[in-house]
C-alpha cells in the first residue's frame, strides 16, 4: 500500500514532465491507433466478403469483359445456386475528386445474393421496376443529400456520355463492415444504351457473381466453370469473393507494409521519449535510492518503484488515448471518406494500444532500474544532482 502511494507521489513530483510525457504517449498512441485502423480497414473489405460467393472474371485482366451468354452456362453448373452479373461503370459525379464505386448490376439476382445490403421492400420493388433507377448506400446519400426520385447524372469514363439515373432507394449495411457508399444501377440500362451507341460493346458483363449451394464446394465449382471456358475467346478465372479482394490487397501491399512500419516507428519514438523521462527521473533520485538501500530495501524493490512509475504514466496516457481514438477516427474518416468508405476502430486496435503502452513502460524502465539496482550506497550518497 505504502509502495503504491510512493509511486503515485513520485509520479507527480515533476508535474510538468509527467504531463508532457503523458501527452507524448497520447499523441503517439493516437497515431498508432489510426494507422492500425487504416490497415484493418483495408483488410475489412476482405472480412466483409463472403466465402460462399464466387466471382468469375476474364482471365486476361479485369478490364476485359465476358459474353453475357456465359450466364446460362454458369447457371447450369452443378453446385451453383444463383448467378448475377454486372459491369464496373467507373462514372464520375461532378468531378474526379468525388469518387465512389458505381456499378451496373442485374438487380434481382444481386439483391438476393447480397443479404447484407438492406433495402426497404417498397424501395426494392421500385428499383427493380425502373430500368433507369439506382440505389445508393446510406453514407453516399447523406454526403450528397439526394432524395428518392432525384435525377443524378454520371459522366461515363469507360462508357462515354452523360448517364441519367433516378434514385429509387437507399440501402444500409447489415453490419458495420458493410460498405455504405456504392452506387448501383441496372445492367440492362447500360446494355440497351450500348446496343444503340456502341453495339460492339453490348451484351457483355464485366463479372459474374455466383452463389453456391454449399460453400465447401467452392473449389470444385470454380474448376468446373473455368474448365468450361478454357480455350475459348474469353477464358475465365473463378475464385471466392474473399480471394478476389485479397488479390487487390496484394497489389497494394507495398503501401500496407509501409503503414505497418510507420506504426512501429511511432511506438519507437514514444519509447525513446518515455525512456528519456525515466532515465532523467532515476538520475535525479539516485541519492534517494541510496537512502532506501541504507534502510534495508533491496534492489528489486527500487526497480519495482521505477517500473511502477513507468507503468502508471504509460497506462494513464493509454487511457486518454483510447478515449480520444474514437472521435479522432471519426474526423479522420470524414476527411478521407474517398479512400476509406468504412473506417471503424476495431477492438484489436484498442488491445494493441494497451499492449504497446505496457511494452513501452517496461522497456523504458529497464535501463534506469538496472542502474538503480547496481548502485552502491556510497556512490549514491556521494552523487550530486
Amino acid at each position: 500500500m505504502y509502495s503504491l502511494k510512493l509511486i503515485l507521489k513520485n509520479t507527480f513530483r515533476h508535474k510538468l514532465r509527467t504531463f508532457l510525457t503523458m501527452m507524448g504517449i497520447v499523441v503517439a498512441l493516437l497515431a498508432f491507433g489510426l494507422l492500425r485502423t487504416v490497415i484493418t480497414t483495408w483488410y475489412g473489405m476482405v472480412d466483409a466478403a463472403s466465402a460462399s460467393r464466387l466471382v468469375t472474371r476474364n482471365s486476361i485482366s479485369l478490364i476485359f469483359p465476358l459474353p453475357i451468354s456465359y450466364y446460362e452456362k454458369i447457371r447450369h453448373v452443378d453446385g451453383v445456386k444463383s448467378v448475377t452479373y454486372g459491369t464496373w461503370f467507373g462514372g464520375i459525379y461532378i468531378d474526379a475528386k468525388h469518387f465512389f464505386a458505381n456499378e451496373a448490376l442485374e438487380p434481382k439476382g444481386f439483391l438476393d445474393l447480397y443479404p447484407e445490403y438492406v433495402l426497404r421492400p417498397d424501395q426494392k420493388n421500385a428499383f427493380i421496376l425502373d430500368r433507369k433507377g439506382f440505389i445508393a448506400g446510406r453514407k453516399l446519400v447523406e454526403k450528397y443529400g439526394w432524395k428518392t426520385g432525384d435525377t443524378v447524372t454520371l459522366k461515363g469514363t469507360i462508357f462515354p456520355g452523360n448517364w441519367d439515373f433516378v434514385m429509387r432507394g437507399i440501402y444500409s449495411g447489415r453490419t458495420r463492415n458493410t460498405e455504405e457508399s456504392a452506387f448501383i444501377f441496372h445492367w440492362d440500362y447500360l446494355n440497351e444504351t450500348l446496343k444503340k451507341t456502341a453495339p460492339r460493346r453490348a451484351d457483355q458483363a464485366g463479372f459474374y457473381i455466383i452463389g453456391l449451394t454449399d460453400p465447401n464446394r467452392a473449389a470444385e465449382v470454380s474448376l468446373a466453370i473455368d474448365g468450361m471456358f478454357r480455350n475459348s475467346m474469353a477464358e475465365t478465372i473463378t475464385e471466392t469473393e474473399k480471394a478476389f479482394h485479397l488479390g487487390f490487397l496484394a497489389m497494394s501491399e507495398a503501401i500496407l507494409v509501409a503503414i505497418r512500419m510507420l506504426s512501429m516507428v511511432v511506438i519507437l519514438i514514444i519509447m525513446v521519449v518515455m525512456a528519456n523521462t525515466m532515465v532523467m527521473t532515476a538520475r535525479e533520485r539516485m541519492g534517494e535510492y541510496a537512502v532506501f538501500k541504507t534502510l534495508g530495501f533491496g534492489g528489486g524493490y527500487i526497480a519495482g518503484l521505477i517500473l511502477g512509475e513507468s507503468l502508471l504514466i504509460c497506462l494513464a496516457g493509454c487511457m486518454i488515448a483510447v478515449v480520444l481514438t474514437y472521435p479522432v477516427a471519426d474526423i479522420f474518416a470524414a476527411a478521407l471518406s474517398d479512400f476509406f468508405p468504412v473506417f471503424v476502430v476495431s477492438r484489436t486496435t484498442i488491445y494493441l494500444d494497451i499492449a504497446a503502452s505496457v511494452f513501452v513502460a517496461v522497456v523504458a524502465a529497464v535501463v534506469p532500474a538496472r542502474r538503480a539496482m547496481t548502485l552502491t550506497i556510497a556512490q549514491g550518497l556521494r552523487r550530486i544532482g
Binding site: H14, L16, R17, L20, T21, M23, G24, V27, A28, L30, A31, S59, I60, S61, L62, I63, F64, G90, I92, A96, F99, K155, G156, T157, I158, P160, G161, R200, N231, M233, E235, G247, F248, A250, M251, S252, E253, A254, I255, A258, I259, L262, V265, V266, L268, I269, I270, V272, V273, A275, N276, T277, V279, M280, E284, A335, L336, F339, V367, G385
Partner: protein
C-alpha cells in the same frame, strides 16, 4: 557579455544517454518526414520523366486513361495528317497509334498476380520516347508474337525475362528484348506489336494516339481545333499533364498521409525535446546562477539554452537524414488506384528535401527548447545560487 557557446555544446556531452535518446527520437521523426517527402518526390520524378512536354496524347473524350479510351482507326488516320505533327528524319510523321490494355501476370517471388500495362506499339513509338533505350536483345518484329519488357517488369514478373515466354490471350509471346526506361512509368510496361495485340485481344480500336508537336507552343490552338472538330471524339493532352493526372490520387494519398504523420510524430519528438530541456534547466539551476553572477545577461542564458536545443535537434536531423538517404536504394511498386496497374517508383533525395528536413528538425528543437530557455533566463540570481 557574449553567449557561452562551448557551455551549450559541452552540456550535450555530459548527459550522453539523455542526449542520445532525445536526438534518437528526433532522428526517427526526421527519418519519417524525409522518407515521405522522398517518396512523393520519387513519384513526381517518375511521372515528369514519363511524359514529355513536346508530346501530345489523344484519348477518347471523357475517358481518364489510355486503358479506358478507344480511338477508331478512321479518327487515328485523320490525326496522322494534322499539320501540327512533326516529321521525323525519314520524313514520316512522328506519331504512334497505340493500344494499351491491362493483363494480370504472376510475380516472380510470390506467384501473386498483379495488373501490368501492355502497350501495342507502332513504328514511331520508340522515337517519341527518347528516355527508352533497348538494354538487351532486340525490338519485336512487326507482325510477330514477340514482346519486349521494361526493366522493372523483367525482374519482378514470372516469364518476363529475356528468352522466356509469357502466355496470355491464348498465345505464347516470346520476350525478345528488355528495355531500360530509367526512372519512368514505361519501366513497368510490356511492349509488343500493336496490330498483333489488337487481334489477340479482339480489340478493333486503338487506345491512344501520341505524336510529337512540330512547335510545342501550338498546343492550345491545336486543342481548340481538335475539340471542335465534329469528326473527332478525342481530347488532346500534353503528355506531362496526362501522366500527372494518372496518379493524382496516389500523390494526394501520399501527401495527406505524410503531412498528418509528420505533424503527429513531430508533436511526440517536440515533447521529448521539451522534457529534456526542462530537466537540463532544472538540474543546472546553480550553474545558471553562477553564469548570471559572472555577468552573463538574461539574453545570453536564453540563447545558450536555445542553442543547446537547436544543437540537439540538428544532431537528430542529421542522423535521421543519414538513415533516410539509404531509402534511395528501395524501389516501391504498388497498384495505382486510378489506372489499376503496377507503378514502380523509388525514394528520391534532393537538396530541397535535405533543407526541408533540417529546417523541420530545427523547428522542433526551437519549439521544444523555447519555454525551458525562457524559464532559465528568468531565474533569480540569488535563489538560483542558493538551490545549489
Amino acid at each position: 557579455m557574449g553567449i557561452p557557446y562551448s557551455y551549450s555544446l559541452r552540456n550535450l556531452r555530459t548527459r550522453l544517454l539523455t542526449t542520445t535518446l532525445t536526438a534518437a527520437g528526433m532522428a526517427l521523426v526526421v527519418f519519417v518526414f524525409a522518407s515521405v517527402l522522398m517518396l512523393s518526390e520519387g513519384l513526381r520524378q517518375t511521372l515528369t520523366a514519363t511524359g514529355s512536354y513536346d508530346n501530345v496524347v489523344l484519348i477518347r473524350k471523357s475517358s481518364v486513361s489510355e486503358v479506358q479510351s478507344g480511338v477508331e482507326r478512321g479518327q487515328a488516320s485523320l490525326l496522322e495528317i494534322q499539320p501540327e505533327v512533326a516529321s521525323g528524319p525519314d520524313g514520316r510523321p512522328m506519331l504512334a497509334k497505340e493500344v494499351v490494355v491491362l493483363i494480370s501476370l504472376p510475380k516472380r517471388d510470390s506467384g501473386k498476380p498483379s495488373n501490368v500495362t501492355i502497350r501495342g506499339i507502332g513504328k514511331g513509338s520508340l522515337s517519341l520516347r527518347p528516355q527508352v533505350t533497348l538494354a538487351q536483345g532486340r525490338m519485336p518484329r512487326p507482325g510477330s508474337w514477340e514482346i519486349v519488357t521494361g526493366g522493372s517488369i523483367a525482374r519482378r514478373f514470372r516469364g518476363a525475362g529475356l528468352g522466356e515466354t509469357l502466355r496470355f490471350a491464348m498465345r505464347d509471346w516470346r520476350v525478345v528484348g528488355i528495355f531500360d526506361a530509367g526512372n519512368t512509368g514505361f519501366n513497368s510496361e510490356l511492349w509488343g506489336d500493336a496490330d498483333q495485340l489488337m487481334q489477340a485481344f479482339n480489340r478493333p480500336v486503338y487506345s491512344s494516339v501520341i505524336f510529337r508537336m512540330r512547335d510545342p507552343s501550338e498546343f492550345q490552338a491545336f486543342r481548340d481545333r481538335i475539340v471542335s472538330d465534329p469528326r473527332l471524339t478525342v481530347e488532346p493532352k500534353r503528355e506531362i499533364r496526362y501522366y500527372e493526372e494518372q496518379s493524382e490520387m496516389m500523390s494526394k494519398f501520399l501527401n495527406i498521409l505524410g503531412l498528418s504523420l509528420s505533424i503527429i510524430f513531430s508533436l511526440g519528438a517536440t515533447i521529448g525535446a521539451m522534457i529534456t530541456m526542462y530537466a537540463a534547466v532544472a538540474t543546472r539551476t546553480s550553474e545558471i546562477g553562477t553564469l548570471r553572477a559572472l555577468g552573463f545577461g538574461r539574453g545570453s542564458i536564453l540563447t545558450a539554452f536555445l542553442l543547446e536545443a537547436l544543437f540537439l535537434s540538428l544532431i537528430g536531423g542529421l542522423l535521421g537524414l543519414f538513415f533516410a538517404s539509404f531509402m534511395q536504394l528501395i524501389t516501391v511498386s504498388t497498384l495505382n488506384f486510378q489506372t489499376f496497374s503496377e507503378l514502380a517508383f523509388s525514394f528520391s533525395l534532393n537538396s530541397r528535401i535535405v533543407v526541408a528536413s533540417l529546417m523541420f528538425s530545427l523547428f522542433m528543437g526551437f519549439v521544444g527548447g523555447f519555454l525551458p530557455a525562457v524559464r532559465a533566463a528568468r531565474m533569480n540570481i540569488v535563489e538560483a545560487l542558493r538551490t545549489g
